[in-house]
Every structure is written in structure tokens, then in C-alpha cells.
């Protein structure tokens, strides 16, 4: 079968403005968008530039806008799209363009670092040197938000973030959630204080683009709502 990809190209060393280029080639319905991009790069135009590594949706490299929504190129099969029409492929929105489908992720990671995304518990370890105990229910409480691969699809789908990069964004909140609701962690109050601030959870307008974009199917808007609630009520259940 034949597909046509309409790709937003931009080479800072040559182009003043981004522009679309079209590529038509043979493909299988089970091919991923990533396979098609690889084929274009290998056989049609080696200058096409994008990030990828794992090719099966676990490394978070290949988030891009496919037909107007953020997805992972390696998790989007042609058969799930309407291939009778052109397929539009654009870089994720809201971060500075670097080249073609690559954007500068610095702000994204800086925002992530703002929410103390690491385990904190300075209390003495169990005397036998073994694990801290945690019941399966307590473990389950934050399971969903441990799945994040930092792909950025959510944050760059968020209308608040498009307008204002200082909003920490859904991804950072997901990663804060993962620790706030971990029964072993002791720094929930500090994280909540950061998230109650000017760049925190209350910038979320519940647009829900984040949840729809998440390739790991994390219930992001729900997690954000839980964080809001924890701030309002001070309860961590």
C-alpha cells in the first residue's frame, strides 16, 4: 500500500521558516510511523531528523504530533490512521525547534527537576538492613504514575504549557504524584508546597489533552486532581 507523509521540516542552517514536505512511499498497514520515517531517512532523504531508540514505546524518545495529536511514532501503526489521506507529522508544540522533528527538551527536564522527583526518607533504615515494608495496597496507590517514561507528549499537549513554559506541566506533576502517594516517602509536604505555587497544579485548566496523549495510558488529569485535592485537604489517601 502507498502512504503519503506530510512532514514539517526545518533546518536552522538553511531555512528561515519551517515548511512542509511530502513523501510518498510503499508501506505495510502494520508499519509504525517510525518505520516509515526510518525508510524515508534511509532511502529518500538522509537529512530528515528525529529522535528514536527503543522502537517499542518504552524509552520516550519519539514523541511527535501525528495528525494533530501527540503520539509516539513507534507506537502508532499505519492501520490505526486513515492512510487514504496524507498523514501530517509535526514536532511537538511548545518547546523550541532544533531541527525537523527534534525540539529542545531542556525546559521539560528543568521543570521535572523542580518538583523534587526523587525518593526522600531520612529516617533510619530497618535494623536488619532489609527492605522497608509496604503493603500491596500502599504500593498500588501510586502504581499508575510510576509508568512515566518522560516522553513529554503530555506536557507539550497542554494549552497552559504552550502559552507558558514556566508551568511545570503534567509530566512533572505525574512524577511528583509518584512520590507524594508513596507510603515510604517523607517529603510530600514540600512537594505539595511547590505545586501549590504560581507554576504548579492550579495552572491546570483540565484541558485533558495530556491524558489523551500519554502513550503509557497514565490517568494524568486524575493524578493532577488528586494532587490538587491533597493540597486543599492535606490528606494523602
Amino acid at each position: 500500500m502507498q502512504v503519503t507523509l506530510k512532514i514539517l521540516r526545518y533546518n536552522p542552517e538553511k531555512d528561515a521558516q519551517p515548511h512542509y514536505e511530502r513523501y510518498t512511499l510503499d508501506a505495510e498497514p502494520t508499519d509504525r510511523i517510525l518505520d516509515v520515517l526510518e525508510k524515508i531517512k534511509a532511502y529518500e532523504d538522509g537529512t530528515l531528523t528525529f529522535r528514536r531508540s527503543c522502537a517499542h514505546g518504552v524509552c520516550g524518545s519519539c514523541a511527535m504530533r501525528i495528525n494533530g495529536r501527540n503520539r509516539l511514532a513507534c507506537k502508532t501503526l499505519l492501520q490505526t490512521l486513515d492512510t487514504s489521506k496524507e498523514i501530517t507529522v509535526e514536532p511537538i508544540l511548545g518547546l523550541p525547534r532544533v531541527k525537523d522533528l527534534i525540539v529542545d527538551m531542556t525546559t521539560f527536564f528543568d521543570n521535572y527537576k523542580k518538583v523534587m522527583p526523587y525518593f526522600i526518607n531520612d529516617e533510619p533504615l530497618p535494623e536488619d538492613g532489609r527492605e522497608r515494608l509496604q503493603s500491596p495496597e500502599e504500593r498500588e496507590r501510586f502504581d499508575d504514575t510510576t509508568k512515566c517514561i518522560l516522553c513529554g507528549a503530555c506536557t507539550t499537549a497542554c494549552p497552559t504549557f504552550w502559552a507558558d513554559n514556566s508551568y511545570v506541566g503534567p509530566s512533572a506533576i505525574v512524577n511528583a504524584h509518584r512520590f507524594i502517594f508513596d507510603s515510604r516517602d517523607r517529603a510530600a509536604a514540600e512537594r505539595l508546597k511547590i505545586l501549590a505555587g504560581e507554576s504548579g497544579v492550579f495552572r491546570c485548566r483540565t484541558a485533558f489533552n495530556c491524558t489523551e496523549a500519554c502513550p503509557r495510558e497514565i490517568q494524568i488529569t486524575k493524578a493532577i486532581a488528586e494532587v490538587k485535592r491533597a493540597i486543599i485537604t492535606g490528606r494523602l489517601d
Binding site: 527536564f109 526523587y118 525518593f119
Partner: protein, 598 residues
């Protein structure tokens, strides 16, 4: 192209599990930077699914000594027993350390770390599978990678993300730094250091069907080879039994750990024939070979080159009853679709996404997939890189993780032992490199430090032939798959070696489209492919020379293990265009080699 310089006492190349673990420890003592071609969280450690082993015995009796024996046996007696014993005895401590860093392991009712059975891990008294793999659902590697990255952020480790290292700087036989290209700008950077730790991961992209990431191009091993240093046991590359048909995406052994079974076209659970005691949980080389035989004898599904992996609850329960499998409390094992979904969410998601198959309702089509490099940069237990068969240390150069060969995996790695290898030896590397660096001086850098790296890139950039890199690569992958895969023969490997050499020659006449500086992935990919070609040549030459079958190296023409002649490690050099092979003995402490039955 401008050159920028930086100075750190310890440099860590690679931000995967091994690199980050090293960074956590090195940065406690010495100024440290991690240089990684990917954002650390994108490293391939994040793809590891099933678990990390340690004999902590949370569900049943287990001992580090059993773990040691299983690993030795799994390695087909090629693993160095001192290193294996060290790793298996360190394992519990490292698991607890990860837990204390916040790693969200799954839990038992008592709140302890939950464990599952995995291939080759047994109760040494009964020979039955033992629950030794600690896990976080089926994303254990992801959780390890995230946890270590988080701790590095907490400890303010310096990162150079999306900097690709192209060359190691050696001064008077000592490591003195590296040269890297900043992908975003194309600038070359010279990093001056006292100690360099290589943790760049594997090279499974050499084969057509692989579970490995695009980034798995063996950069570290290839750089070491180019410095005139040897690589060890390169002929041993693991094919994992269960990759998704055609795509190679891994279906963790944890599926079989949870009771899944392999089925042929006749609906038989064929592993009973090949490994009567542990059946589907035999070690990987054994299962992959069994699958190849089934397929060769026409019992692939519909005669095709794949088999079924069946984890539907009815199948699991049927065979669990036949095998007399029990829960930890002794009651018969009985699972529901929901429990399977809960334990293997990602696997189920992969199957639905890529195959349109729901594993709870249908069996999954699988075939062996290139997975893990047992060989690599030779090191001792302190992770110091070795320059020869006598064990001479290269001062200041360390290696850990998949790109290193300690050797704890010998001829075949047991599932879950790699993640363990990463954290155990990553930590050792961090400690020893920092210790070395605090006692050493910065060697003065030569003026031409960056020249070799620059020349490599210029050669590719200015090459004006008409060969396409993609064509060469695809021929390499097919050749390696056909002739240096699960089964090997003299003629096949000879043909492969000739082919690889031809491809290397053709590689001199490539051309690339992108001549720019910013994020020139065209250029970088070509450089990476030259690494794969170098390693493919070494792999094939090492394999061709080894005239026996052992672990993952399985020859039709020499079907038996030959301890008399081949109980030894291969070391391969590339000198003046010629491959030189030498051998060194295996360290044997407690366990005398014997025949391997599962």
C-alpha cells in the same frame, strides 16, 4: 568546528543502569560527569522487563550459593566463578539498596519484595524453579533506570546529555579522557579526566530480528577495539526465545515465570522433551535451540518460523496442575485473566498494539530474537579493563554493564542477571574509579587529542561514493541472522566473514545526504554502523575459531561441548587490519564443569 574542553576526575560514558550506578558512587568522592548520547532516561535499561535476581528468599528458601551455582551452570561453565560468586553474594545487599532509594518493587502480603521464577534459577536441592527475580510489574528495568536517574538528580550529578563519545584519549597507555560530539551543535568537546568508565550497552542491532534499541550499536566496545585493546568472548550472543514474530520486541521470560508455556503447531508443549525438569523455564540457549529444532522439523505454526507463547489462564492452569505448581503457601496455583493483566500489563499492551492480539484470549506468535551480548570489554572484578590474556590492567579505564565482560555470564546469561550485573559492577566501577582518580594526576593532553575523532567523522562526511549505508546495514543484518545466529556452521560463518569484509570495503564508498552540523543523525548513524561492522567481524571470527558448542554458541558441525580444548575465554584484537585471537583460562573455584541438563 570549534573545540571546547572540560575537566572532571571521573567520566562515565553512558547513562544507563550501569552508568548511573557508577555515577552515584563516583560522585561521592570525585568530580564526576556522565556523558550520554541519549537522555539517561532513554537508555535501554528502561526496556528490561522481567526482574532482577537476588537470593533474598522472601517467598521460599534460597541461598546466594544456589544463585552462584545456577549462574555457573547457566554460563555453560564459561563464567568466571570468582566474579559470579562475588555478584551473587552482593545481590541481596544491592536489592535492599535499590529499595532504600525508593524503587517500587511489587510486594508480598507481608509487605516484602515480591519475587517470581525465571529461567535457569532453581532450588538446588529439588531442581525445581525458585522464586528469585524481584520485580516491579513487567517494567523492572524502567523502575531501576528511573530510580537511579532520580537519585542522580538528588545528588546533583553533572550530565552531558546528547553528547556522543567518539574516541577515548589514551596517554602513555593510560585513559586520559574522551572526545565527544555535542549532537545539538555538532561541536567537538574534549573531556579531560583521570578515569573513564565505559557503560555504553550492547550491540544487538547487528542482527535482523532483535529486541535491542536503535542505540545499541556497540560504540564503547568498538572504541576500545580501535585503541588496540582486545574484546572477550564475542562469539557468545544471546538469542532470547520469545520475541514478537517479525518485530523482535521482547516478551519477557516472566511470562513463562507466571506459568505461560510454549506450544508448537501440533498444540504440544514441546519443552517437556528438551528440559524435563524445568521445561519452559530452562535457560535461554536451551529454549531458543529447542524452538529452532521444532521449526526446522516443520512444527512451526502453520509451518512458518514462529511458535506460540500461551499465557491464557486456562492454559496456565492446565499446565500448573500437571506440573503440580503451587503458590508460596502450598495451595495449587490458579490464576485469573485479571491477575495476569496485573502482573504483565506492558506485555499485554505490546501485544495489543503491535499484533492486535490480546494474550489473555489468544496465544502470542513468537520467535527467538537477538538480545544480549555476553562478551565485551574484558575486565576484572574491580571493573578495570584488561589489556591482554595475562590480566594486565589499563590504568584509568573501567567498564561495566552490558558492554563489559567480567565474565559473569560466560556462554549464556540467565534472565535477570544482567540488571544485577549492572548495579553490582556499576557500583564497583564508581567506587574503584573514584578511588583511583583521587590518587592520580591529570595526564597532560596531547594537542591532537581530538584529531582521531574528527578524522573519523570527516572520512564519512567527505566520502563521495554511491553506496547507501542502509543497504550495507541490511545486508549485514541478514548475514548475521542467517549464519551467526542460533545455529552456526563452518561454511556459513566463513561466508559471513567474507561478506562482512566485503561490506566493510563497500563502507569506504558510502555517501551521506546531510552535511550540516546541527543534529546530524545521518552522519552519526553512519559512524555507529561502522562500529557494528567492526564488531560483526570480530564476532564472526571468534565464533568461527571456536570449534565446539557451548551456551549460545551452537554449531551443527561440532554439536558437543569440548572442555578439553575449549574451556577458555576468547580474546580478539584488531591489529593492522588483521584479527588476532588469543585465549585465557576460565576461573574455576568450586564448581567443576559437568553436563548441563535442565
Amino acid at each position: 568546528m570549534s573545540i571546547k574542553t572540560h575537566q572532571y576526575e571521573v567520566l562515565i560514558i553512558g547513562g544507563g543502569g550501569a552508568g548511573l550506578m557508577a555515577a552515584l558512587y563516583a560522585s561521592k568522592k570525585a568530580s564526576t560527569a556522565v556523558i550520554s548520547k541519549l537522555y539517561p532516561s532513554r537508555s535501554h535499561t528502561g526496556a528490561a522487563q522481567g526482574g532482577i535476581s537476588a537470593a533474598i528468599g522472601n517467598l521460599e528458601e534460597d541461598h546466594p550459593d544456589w544463585h552462584t551455582y545456577d549462574t555457573v551452570k547457566g554460563s555453560d561453565y564459561l563464567g568466571d566463578q570468582d566474579a559470579i560468586e562475588f555478584m551473587c553474594h552482593k545481590a541481596p545487599e544491592l536489592i535492599y539498596e535499590l529499595e532504600h532509594m525508593g524503587l517500587p518493587f511489587d510486594r508480598t502480603k507481608e509487605g516484602r519484595i515480591l519475587q517470581r521464577p525465571f529461567g535457569g534459577h532453581t532450588n538446588n536441592e529439588t531442581g525445581k524453579p525458585v522464586r528469585r527475580a524481584c520485580h516491579a510489574a513487567d517494567r523492572t528495568g524502567h523502575m531501576i533506570l528511573q530510580t537511579l536517574y532520580q537519585q542522580c538528580i538528588k545528588n546533583n550529578v553533572n550530565f552531558f546529555d546528547e553528547f556522543q563519545v567518539l574516541d577515548i584519549i589514551m596517554v602513555n597507555g593510560k585513559a586520559a579522557g574522551v572526545v565527544a560530539i555535542e549532537l545539538a551543535t555538532g561541536d567537538l568537546h574534549v573531556f579531560h579526566a583521570k578515569a573513564v568508565i565505559l557503560t555504553t550497552g550492547g550491540w544487538g542491532r547487528m542482527w535482523e530480528i532483535t529486541s535491542n534499541a536503535y542505540a545499541y550499536t556497540g560504540d564503547g566496545a568498538a572504541m576500545v577495539l580501535r585503541k588496540g585493546l582486545p574484546l572477550q568472548d564475542m562469539e557468545f550472543f544471546q538469542f532470547h526465545p520469545t520475541g514478537i514474530y517479525k518485530l523482535g520486541i521482547l516478551i519477557t521470560e516472566g511470562v513463562r515465570g507466571e506459568g505461560g508455556v510454549l506450544i508448537n503447531d501440533k498444540g504440544e508443549r514441546f519443552m517437556e522433551k528438551y528440559a524435563p525438569t524445568v521445561k519452559d523455564l530452562a535457560s535461554r540457549d536451551v529454549v531458543s535451540r529447542a524452538m529452532y529444532i521444532e521449526m526446522k522439523e516443520g512444527r512451526g505454526i502453520n509451518g512458518q518460523r514462529y511458535l506460540y507463547l500461551d499465557v491464557r489462564p486456562e492454559t496456565v492452569n492446565k499446565y500448573a496442575a500437571l506440573d503440580g505448581r503451587t503458590n508460596p503457601d502450598g495451595s495449587p496455583l490458579h490464576v485469573t485473566g485479571e491477575e495476569i493483566l496485573h502482573k504483565l500489563p506492558d506485555i499485554i499492551d505490546f501485544c495489543k498494539t503491535y499484533l492486535g492480539v490480546d494474550p489473555i484470549k489468544e496465544p502470542m506468535p513468537v520467535q527467538p530474537t537477538a538480545h544480549y551480548a555476553m562478551g565485551g570489554i574484558p575486565t576484572n572484578v574491580k571493573t578495570e579493563v584488561l589489556a591482554d590474556e595475562k590480566g594486565t590492567v589499563v590504568p584509568g579505564l573501567y567498564a561495566a554493564g552490558e558492554n563489559a565482560c567480567v565474565s559473569v555470564h560466560g556462554a549464556n546469561r540467565l534472565g535477570t542477571n544482567s540488571l544485577l550485573d549492572l548495579v553490582v559492577f556499576g557500583k564497583e566501577a564508581g567506587i574503584h574509579a573514584a578511588e583511583y582518580a583521587t590518587g592520580a594526576e591529570f595526564a597532560p593532553l596531547p594537542d591532537d587529542a581530538a584529531d582521531f575523532a574528527r578524522a573519523q567523522l570527516d572520512r564519512i562526511r567527505n566520502s563521495k561514493g554511491n553506496e547507501r549505508v542502509a543497504d550495507i546495514v541490511s545486508e549485514m543484518k541478514h548475514t548475521m541472522m542467517d549464519h551467526v545466529g542460533v545455529f552456526r556452521t563452518e561454511e556459513g560463518m566463513q561466508e559471513a566473514l567474507n561478506k562482512i569484509r566485503e561490506l566493510k570495503e563497500r563502507f569506504q564508498h558510502i555517501h551521506i545526504d546531510d552535511t550540516g552540523s546541527v543534529f546530524n543523525t545521518d552522519l552519526i548513524t553512519a559512524w555507529e554502523m561502522s562500529n557494528l561492522l567492526d564488531l560483526a567481524e570480530i564476532t564472526t571470527a571468534s565464533a568461527l575459531a571456536r570449534k565446539e558448542s557451548r551456551g549460545a554458541h551452537s554449531r551443527d558441525d561440532y554439536p558437543k561441548r569440548d572442555d578439553q580444548n575449549w574451556l577458555k575465554h576468547t580474546l580478539a584484537w584488531k591489529r593492522d587490519g588483521e584479527i588476532e585471537l588469543r585465549y585465557k583460562p576460565v576461573v574455576i573455584t568450586k564448581y567443576e564443569p559437568k553436563e548441563r541438563v535442565y
